[in-house]
């Protein structure tokens, strides 16, 4: 059979290698080669989306994974090249393919070191795709780490004024998280009987046993869960591990912010759902209340921070922290609604936040600053731009009829069944969200036109092209969420059965 997942994963890498042979003066050729390399995974993931059997459960059941490839990779360690997808991964693959493709176009404005930029960008896409497809822990870890290097360079070379600081901070934080994951992975390898196969690990259950450490006896599962949690929490990011995010976002170029918020943050919650939950169900139940509290802090703290920002991009960055809190709340709830809402929120946040960052990029490219108070009345000058922005803002607020509403509603519904008080406080995040979003909209677009910007050009067709697919998805899923929601309903049901019985 045609090995779809491998092509999706490695087509960008092949594109990156092909780029090395393109002369660096031919910038347009480089851009189009990159676009072609990103188009392949997009087309294939749409095919996957169509062919995907939505009734199959996945999660811990090897027979119901789809598009499976399983080959020996390193026999000495029993490491396999084992890729396959279930409902959880397919939604993320779709998101990654779409955002990566659009970001190639969003990066057309980059003039410095174009070749290196796209090579790194495509390498990053390979890393992301591989992480979502991998079913072997070692393979997963390698792809996970492969994302670090290009991200470091993309922020560090093509970023803003404090790029060097932001890049190393991102790098150190994430590496800190992933080395803990490395140790857990090795510990599980022995516990699963010398195998890195994730499904073997899930079926055997990694919970049992104890570890004596520094004079205490810890539950094996709980210790491992916490170690994994720190690794994933840094990626999400969950308070108090979030401080790298605003720095990285503010300094990163627009397209990289989109990828960072749209895909990389999902890695954290994906890791929790793919690895921590099914492998350590007992510890996951034990940790749920704490996770709900983390969700609460993320939602409220993120929203309050967003409200205090003067930098447009930093505001979006903090709003991401707040919105990712809803994913966590859904996961903590242990209900099918909650988990469906969580994964749907991952998808929706990916599309909505991507729009927001693209929109900030548009205004930054024109005005060369992002000071919210420095604009005013732009609606008159840029009506199309204002229309797209208002759509994205309302989607982010969770206005009914747009996709964000459905996922947040599902999360709150699920959450309310398990943690009433926490969920009630969390729902204030929506109000706060409305407050900072509308206030920002007002300051930027309404009121008298700032004289400085009376000649600001309207949004260009290329920029519109990057926004239209995302806007369409937001609208369609807001009315008819089944195409995406249906992808993972079966898998989430299975996950709830695995963890909560």
């Amino acid at each position: 059979m045609f090995d779809m997942l491998s092509v999706i994963t490695f087509a960008p890498l092949a594109g990156a290698l092909a780029l090395l042979f393109v002369p660096k003066e031919r910038r347009d050729l480089i851009r189009w080669v990159a676009a072609a390399a990103a188009l392949v995974p997009l087309v294939l993931s749409v095919l996957v989306f169509i062919q995907f059997d939505r009734a199959k459960l996945g999660i811990n059941d090897p027979s119901s994974f789809q598009f499976v490839v399983q080959k020996d990779w390193i026999q000495a360690f029993n490491i396999q090249y084992y890729m396959g997808i279930d409902g959880l991964s397919v939604s993320m693959i779709l998101l990654t393919a779409l955002l990566s493709f659009l970001c190639v176009f969003a990066s057309f404005g980059i003039q410095k070191g174009v070749k290196g930029y796209y090579a790194m960008f495509l390498l990053l896409e390979t890393g992301m795709m591989g992480t979502f497809c991998a079913l072997d822990f070692f393979l997963f870890y390698v792809f996970w780490e492969v994302m670090l290097l290009p991200m470091y360079f993309l922020i560090g070379i093509w970023g803003g004024p404090r790029k060097v600081y932001a890049a190393i901070k991102f790098f150190l934080y994430t590496l800190f998280g992933s080395v803990l994951m490395l140790l857990v992975m090795l510990a599980f390898y022995f516990k699963a009987g010398h195998s890195f196969n994730m499904l073997t690990m899930m079926q055997q259950g990694m919970d049992g046993g104890t570890i004596p450490l520094f004079g205490h006896v810890f539950r094996y599962g709980q210790l491992m869960f916490v170690a994994l949690f720190i690794g994933f929490a840094i990626k999400v990011p969950i308070f108090p591990f979030h401080t790298w995010l605003p720095d990285a976002h503010v300094e990163a170029p627009t397209a990289i912010s989109v990828i960072l918020a749209g895909v990389l943050l999902k890695m954290g919650t994906y890791g929790l759902l793919r690895i921590s939950y099914p492998m350590l169900p007992e510890a996951a139940r034990w940790f749920s209340p704490a996770l709900a509290i983390f969700a609460l802090i993320n939602i409220v703290y993120g929203a309050l921070c967003a409200m205090a920002q003067k930098d447009f991009k930093k505001l979006i960055a903090y709003s991401s922290i707040s919105h990712m809190g809803f994913v966590l709340l859904g996961m903590a709830s242990g209900t099918e609604q909650g988990l469906n809402g969580a994964v749907f929120q991952m998808f929706n946040h990916g599309t909505i936040t991507a729009m927001l960052f693209l929109l900030v990029g548009v205004i930054y490219d024109r005005a060369h600053h992002r000071d919210i108070d420095g604009f005013g009345g732009l609606m008159v000058r840029m009506p199309v731009y204002a229309a797209f922005t208002s759509l994205a803002f309302f989607a982010a607020i969770g206005l009914p009829g747009l996709s964000g509403f459905i996922s947040e509603a599902l999360v709150l519904l699920g959450g309310f069944r398990s943690y009433q008080a926490i969920t009630i406080i969390c729902s204030s995040g929506i109000v706060l969200g409305a407050a900072y979003m509308l206030w920002t909209f007002q300051r930027v677009f309404l009121g008298p036109l700032n004289e400085k910007y009376k000649d600001l050009p309207e949004i260009s067709p290329r920029e519109i092209f990057t926004l239209v697919p995302l806007a369409a998805i937001t609208l369609v899923l807001g009315v008819y969420p089944v195409p995406v929601l249906g992808l993972f309903q079966a898998s989430m049901g299975q996950l709830v059965r695995v963890v909560w019985g």
């Binding site: 390193i74 000495a76 390698v142 150190l172 590496l175 080395v179």
Partner: protein, 499 residues
Amino acid sequence: MTEALVLGNQESLRYFAPEAIVTLAFLAVIVFDIVTGGRKRNGTAAVAIAGLALAVVAAVPLLTARPALLFSGMIALDPFAAFFKIFICAASIVIVLISMGYRELTARFQGEFIAAMLATVLGAMLFACSVNMVMIYLTLEMLSLPSYILAGFLKGDTRSGEAGIKYAVFGAAASGAMIFGLSFLYGISGSLDLFALRDALDVRAVPTIALLIPTIFVFAGFAYKISAVPFHMWTPDVYEGTSTPITAFFSVVPKAAGFAAIARFFLSGMTRQTPDGLVAAAAIDWPFLIAIVSVLTMTLGNLASLRQNNVKRLLAYSSIAHAGYMLMGLVLLTDEGVKAVLFYLVVYALMNIGAFLVVIALSGERPREEIDDFRGLGWRMPALGLAMAVFLFSLTGLPPFAGFIGKVYLFKAVIAKEYYWLAVIGVLNSVVSLYYYVRIVKVMYLDIPAEGAGLAPISVSRMHGVVLALLAVPTVLFGIRFGVVDALTDLGRNLFLGR
């Protein structure tokens, strides 16, 4: 392991071929150099390379040979020893190749340099297989004395002179401590044989303190060779002061020999075989002591690296940290641990020599050893910059590079023995190391040089280009496919543990 043969002097010679070949090469280099009057520089190097390559060929069959003790129990013949012979000779071939393109060394006395190096190689090969206390001491000296000459090789250069003296003084103190410790152990067992020491510890109740002191003293001798804390002080000064190819040599060959000797001394001399695996034979918990040394070594090495602005010094401290990681493998008392150390040594040699080679290649006309000298290198000389980035990321232990696999082997072995605290400290140390390795990557790529400011590429000799590729390609390749190294170290981990 099964009963081993103890061979007499004449029968042993047959299995002594690698060492004999290196000895002959050593003599041949001197003779060749005198006959040609030191004019045929590449010829001298060619003789050395041929000798070392032959020694590798002669050592390969020994990988599968039946374990035996040669020269009536002086040195061991086992796959472990064969592995180190191959490793030491192969690494030395790379260093000779590097030195051929290095003007500082080829300008004068190349014959002497190569001869001193071959003498060190011979000492290292023997040090790695000594199982008799006197042999251990003699081979340590045999390894050290020519190293002192190498360290101070750049006659007239004050830094090199300082390095030579420093190395010699520290070395003398360490080997003095070692022989003092060995004399105590001789007193305990009544024999110079390591296996007799183990047997004596088994039957006789030796007071803790009487064993602790000599163990620490003996360990000091080894620790100085692998630059473990607190016997590491000489390392940065010597590495910085001496000629860079020699630094690369020091960071790999004597260090590898030191690890071999530590493994052999503690596993043969102070470890008992039980049905549940190996346990420390002595009344003291020496694995724990080495674990502490390992933690201190990696932590101090990494923290000190953070503050360095000279790349050679930075790599010196980072090599201390790597010694700390490798020491973890020796405290486990498992085959897997030993294998992990061997595997790590192989990838460490590739990436560390590689990183030094980039420093060498940059120093075409003048020394470029400060981090600032690397500014914009990635844009100015893409290939060299890329190679350096590969080596540095590999040293950090990031996939998909070989250094990551090396770390996986080590941490896997540590986790298998459930030394969780050691593993946690180890991985946190790799996070620290990221910071200083990436500092170099940062100046290479993130700081784009101002237009026109020293943008002319530095000419790199063809020999250096070839060797660089020879090191960089496996550094990437072994990160993805490492079956060959796995097979080699799987044989090599078989250490002869006594009759």
